[in-house]
Symmetry: C2
Subunit: 123 residues, 2 copies
């Protein structure tokens, strides 16, 4: 049996097409706008980037307070918002909670925002 080239995208990417390809429906727009709302705060955005870039792919909550000039409860609130938006997940292990990003969610947003290709007249 010969090996076949793997498809670039799984077959059911209807939810995740670039917006430049077709307009969003109401349901998708409602769901996606909630995810973008979670990214609309600078501290949450930095928190998410810190988790995403953390060595090993996950970060202990004990490492996430230091870089910010806000209280631990505020960080915890922001992490909860990111989790409820489906952008990160977490697990308690002993004393600490560990966070990691959910790649499928990030990639969904990333694909959605791909600019029109080929480039239009305007830049």
């Amino acid at each position: 049996m010969s090996k076949q080239a793997l498809p670039v995208l799984p077959p059911d990417q209807g939810c995740c097409a670039p917006m430049a390809r077709r307009p969003l429906g109401e349901t998708d727009a409602a769901e996606l706008s909630r995810m973008f709302k979670a990214l609309s705060d600078p501290v949450r955005l930095r928190l998410l980037s810190l988790i995403a870039s953390y060595e090993g792919g996950e970060a202990c909550v004990c490492d996430l307070t230091g870089p910010f000039d806000v209280s631990q409860p505020t960080i915890s609130h922001h992490l909860k918002v990111l989790r409820e938006a489906g952008l990160v997940d977490s697990e308690r292990r002993g004393t600490w909670v560990y966070y990691w990003v959910l790649p499928a969610a990030l990639n969904r947003l990333s694909t959605l925002l791909q600019a029109p290709v080929p480039p239009r007249v305007h830049t």
Copy 2:
């Protein structure tokens, strides 16, 4: 002179690296969170997707009210928010204003959100 392979990214992509590669600084996070805030409303998100996917790459404001159950002034307000966030630009021609997306801005956000590669343990 031999041809060299083109780099995947232009040399000065410091502003636009995936967040999974390195954490965002305060200045970038503040700027980017404003762009995400513009995307945090479902009507604005649908408006942007309508403009992005419009035949020819630009949409007359006269074509942007029909699909929505909100007033023309509300649409105009949302378009202003998208423009002030640097996601679209516009131009008046005669009676109507025409809107188009700014590909560099969309691609900046799209690149920022690319998930960690290779995939981590969690999915």
